[in-house]
Structures are given as structure tokens and as C-alpha cells.
Amino acid sequence: MGAYIARRAIQGGALLVFVSLVSYGIMNLAPGGPLAVYLHNPQVTPDKIELLRHQLGLDQPWYARYLAWLGGLVQGHWGYSYYTGRSVLEMIGERLPATFLLMLSAFVLALSLSFPLGVYAATHKYSWGDNLLSFGSFFAWAMPTFWFGLMLQLTLAVRVPLLPVAGMHEIGVTTLPDLLRHLAMPALVLGLGSIASWSRYLRSSMLDVLGQDYVRTARAKGLPRHRVLNGHVLRNSLIPIVTLMGLDLPALFGGAVITESIFGWPGMGRLFLSALNNRDYPLQMAGLMISAALLIAGNLLADLAYAALDPRIRYT
């Protein structure tokens, strides 16, 4: 198991380097570049632009800059933002907690809603409740995320002012209830897709398990219904769901970009969007690397959880 994790970690590291090389190349081959904003500014003389170009290292070929960047990354220097001049690591450090809080809330919300819904749907197959849920999940998948967010804002914040429209907290207020009120809509928007897919997968996975011989045996020996469901059925149905959760991790991070823009959430996603608009390469690369790392880590976690839950699966 240890050797397996080590091998996967090394593979993941190699993949990250590859992803970073391609992304860096694409980014730097783009015309314009970070200095384009100054070209039309009469206050900035060509000399100054040359000086800036030299200071930012933009006068070197992109592969030389890439190697310098990669060397820095390994040593924990993620460079400085072209735009604000501040350390990228510092800027991300300020924003990452908000994004992780949002992702965690969405994850917890999805977990606590999809399980009861999935179990209900599986135990009441083809009832009107089950049909309604399957209808609802199609809608959840079909709605554009940001449209759902705007509709929530319109109904729950504008028409009926129950929740704050946007932001993370009222100015000067740092209480937990205030934070939760601000979290409610963004977390639901970010988690909606997961709620729908996890509950549907749990339903079908439970239906598979319910047909197994060992479930019939458990029932036949007179175990109470809840013990059969919790002990025999649910545990065995979890395996495919856990994989799905691992794969949803990077999706939550990507979805945070949209959710944060709707609700003015001060997280990584909005920082990344402004970095795109400013051609702020070091910041863009940092965002890309974090999401690529999450993608690879999510895959690995899914595989490991798979083995942890199912004794039939052993990695060597």
C-alpha cells in the first residue's frame, strides 16, 4: 500500500510538471503580454517599459523563465504578481481560506442532503417521491449554475429579503450566524450538482446491493430493517459514491470560480479571473497548479478510499 501511494504520488508530481510546462508555454506564447496595458499610456516611456520588461524577466525566452519559475515553485517561492507586486503565495494565502470554506460547506451540504435523498429514493423505488427526485436532478444538472444563483438571489434576497445578496459578512460583523447566512446561497449553488449526482448514484448503487444474496440472508435471519439497511446495504453502496466524491473535488474548485463571481465571495476564483484580465502570469500559474494538484489528489484519494472501503480491492 505504501509503495502504491509513493508510486502514484511520483506519477502525480510528474503530471503536474507536464501540466505546468504546457500551460506556461500556452500562456507565454499569447500575443500582447502583461506589458500591453502600458503601451498606450503616454506617461510610460519606452525606456520605462524596457526597464519593466527586464525587471519582470520578460526579456528572457519563455523556457528560461519557466525553469526559473519551476525552481522557485519547488523552493516555495511562487513569484510576485505582475500587477500588484505582492508575493503570489501571500495573495493566495489571503483568498484560499474563503474558497476552501465555500467548498467545504458545499461538500457538507451535498453530503447531508444527498444521503437521505438517495436512501429514500432507493427504498421507495418508482414512488412519486422517487420520480420527483429523479426529475429534480435532471433539472439540477440542466440549469446553468450562474442562472440558478441569480434566481436564488432574485427570490431569497431581492423579492423576499431573507438572505444577504452577496459578500462574506456584513461590514464589521464577524459572528458565525452572519457568516452562515452569507454562506447559504453560494454553498447551495456550488453543491447542487453534487447533491443531484451523489443521490442518484447512491440510489442506483443501493438498488444493486439490495438485490444481493447477502441482503436476502440478512433479512431471512430476522435482522431489523434499519440494521439491514445501515449495516449491510448502505456500507456496500458507498463504494462508487466515494469515488464520485473524489472526482468532484476539482469540480468544486472550478465551480467556485463561477459561484464566487455571482455572490462576490472573496476567494481564489475571483482572484484568478482578475489575474486573467491583467495577464498576471505568476498568479494565473498558481491558480492552474492548485486546480491541477486538486484534480490529481482527488483521483488518488478516490482510489485509496475505494481500497479502504472494499476489502476485495488491494493495491500493491
Binding site: 500551460s23 506564447l29 440542466a142 446553468p144 442562472w147 441569480l150 438571489q153 431581492v158 474548485f253
Partner: protein, 298 residues
């Protein structure tokens, strides 16, 4: 038995098929009431989009500052936007772009996925390894972040073409895996050996003999790919990296109306509702197709 077995003697879908298998698929498809609703809804959307000039006399881009942000009325069924453009016309004409992007991105992604997946599955060996590693690599890229960077880079020139290209380039991996698996199970069948025995070339066997038998999962996947591409395009529009604001698309209509959401909510509700309706319809159709064509659920 899987879909491959069921369809292994079905002729190409385009040729004069005896009622048999595709007819049976249609019978099974018809059993899904929601799928029939989906077909009707999608048909209505497509008809509305195609017949836009008949359904409205307004141009989607004609500015009328005297009648900006008008409420829905007889002249303007959905009101007008901040520049006085008729929202109904913009939803109809905007659908042309949104549907076009969804369908062409699907076609491009499917073409790449089918070609690479079928070659990998049929040839096996190092070609197979190469293609599957390529799939793994593409899946390692955080798609939305890279899409944003690419769109930011190439924004401006031929935006629709670029959008379709990128969505296609990121949207072929799932299909490639499915097609490969299908070819792996089909390549050992008697009809393939028979074709080889009478001297058919590799390309002919891959695309003429096996492909029609692998059509079922491809069709199902294609339906979901259209939906995914349409949603992705709308999301990119919303983030400001999609098609330029002067092109009316369902995504652009929503983002442009966001400011007026509390005074003129219909401007946001209408395009979003049409996207949702279209995508739900496609989902219902895809779901029923999967059942009717007996494709194993993943």
C-alpha cells in the same frame, strides 16, 4: 448481453434499415413519456430558433433607446433590454448561436473521440497505449482554467470558431474511452473476421464494418455532449471570456441583464429558462436513448 451484441447485425443507421432493430429501439423509446416530452420541447425550441424571422419582426440587434427596459407587452412579449432591443427576438436569434455552438462542438468532439477511440480499440498495442495516455493527460488539465486562458488569448478573432474548437478539444475523452471499449469487444467477432477474409482493408473494417455496430453508445454520448457544450458556453459567457457581448447568445443575454435583475427580472429569467428547457429535453432524450438502444449504464 450488451448493446454490441444486440446491434451486431444492424445495418448502418442511414441505410434502408428493415424495421427490425431501429424500429424496436423506437418502440422502447416511445415508452418513455418524458423523452417524448423532451422531443416535443426540443422540437419547439429548434423550430422557434429556425423560424425566428417569421415569429418576430424585430432584429435582435436593432437599438431603440426610447424604449429601453420596457416591460413585457403586446409589441415586446419579453420586454426590451437596456438598449431597447427586443428581448424575444434576442432569445430566438441568440438560440441560433447557442445551439450551433453546442451541436458543432459535439460533432468536433465526437469526431475526434470516434476516430481516436476506434483506432485505439481496433489496433491495440502501442497505438492503444498512446491514445489512452493522451486521454489521461487531457483529463489532468483543469479544463475550465485552461479554457479561460485560451479564450483570453485568442479572444477577438473568429470567436465562435475558437469556442467550438476549444470545447471540442476538451470534450472527446469520454467518448474515446467508450468507443475503444466497444471496439475491443467487437473486433474479435465473426463479421470482422469475415470482412478481413474477403480482403477488406483496416480502414474499411474500422469505419464501415465495426462503426455502425458501435453507434448506440456514440449516439447516447453525443446527446449528453451537446448539453454539456451548451452549458459550458453559457458559463464562459457569464465569466466574461465567452463570445463577445455583441453576439447575442443565451449566456450573453443573461450576463447583460444581470444589472437590471431586480427591475426587469424577465430579462434574466427568460434566456435561462430556455437553456434549462433545452438541456433538460436533451437529457430526457439521451436517457431514453440509452434505455432504448440498450447501452450499459456506466
Amino acid at each position: 448481453m450488451d448493446g454490441g451484441t444486440l446491434l451486431s447485425h444492424a445495418p448502418a443507421p442511414a441505410s434502408r434499415a428493415p424495421a427490425g432493430l431501429w424500429g424496436m429501439a423506437w418502440l422502447r423509446f416511445r415508452r418513455h413519456r418524458m423523452a417524448l416530452v423532451g422531443v416535443a420541447a426540443l422540437g419547439a425550441v429548434v423550430a422557434g430558433v429556425v423560424l425566428a424571422p417569421v415569429l418576430t419582426s424585430y432584429s435582435p440587434t436593432a437599438v431603440d433607446p426610447d424604449h429601453s427596459l420596457a416591460s413585457p407587452s403586446r409589441q415586446h412579449p419579453l420586454g426590451t433590454d437596456d438598449l431597447g432591443r427586443d428581448e424575444f427576438a434576442r432569445v430566438l436569434y441568440g438560440g441560433r448561436i447557442s445551439l450551433l455552438v453546442g451541436v458543432t462542438a459535439m460533432l468536433l468532439g465526437s469526431a475526434i473521440g470516434v476516430v481516436l477511440g476506434s483506432i485505439a480499440g481496433y489496433m491495440g498495442g502501442w497505438i492503444d497505449t498512446l491514445v489512452m495516455r493522451l486521454v489521461d493527460l487531457v483529463l489532468c488539465f483543469p479544463a475550465i482554467f485552461l479554457l479561460l486562458i485560451l479564450l483570453n488569448w485568442t479572444g477577438g478573432r473568429a470567436p465562435v470558431l475558437m469556442m467550438v474548437g476549444y470545447l471540442g478539444l476538451f470534450g472527446w475523452t469520454g467518448l474515446a474511452r467508450i468507443v475503444r471499449a466497444e471496439y475491443l469487444s467487437l473486433r474479435g467477432r465473426e463479421f470482422v473476421e469475415e470482412a478481413r477474409a474477403v480482403g477488406a482493408g483496416t480502414r474499411r473494417i474500422i469505419f464501415r464494418h465495426i462503426l455502425p455496430n458501435a453507434m448506440a453508445p456514440i449516439l447516447v454520448q453525443a446527446a449528453f455532449a451537446v448539453a454539456a457544450a451548451m452549458l459550458a458556453e453559457a458559463a464562459l459567457d457569464f465569466l466574461g471570456f465567452g463570445l463577445p457581448p455583441e453576439i447575442p447568445t443565451w449566456g450573453n443575454l443573461m450576463i447583460q441583464a444581470e444589472t437590471y435583475m431586480s427591475s426587469n427580472p424577465i430579462l434574466v429569467i427568460a434566456p435561462g429558462a430556455v437553456v434549462t428547457l433545452t438541456v433538460v429535453a436533451v437529457f430526457f432524450i439521451g436517457d431514453a436513448l440509452r434505455d432504448a438502444l440498450d447501452v450499459r449504464t456506466r
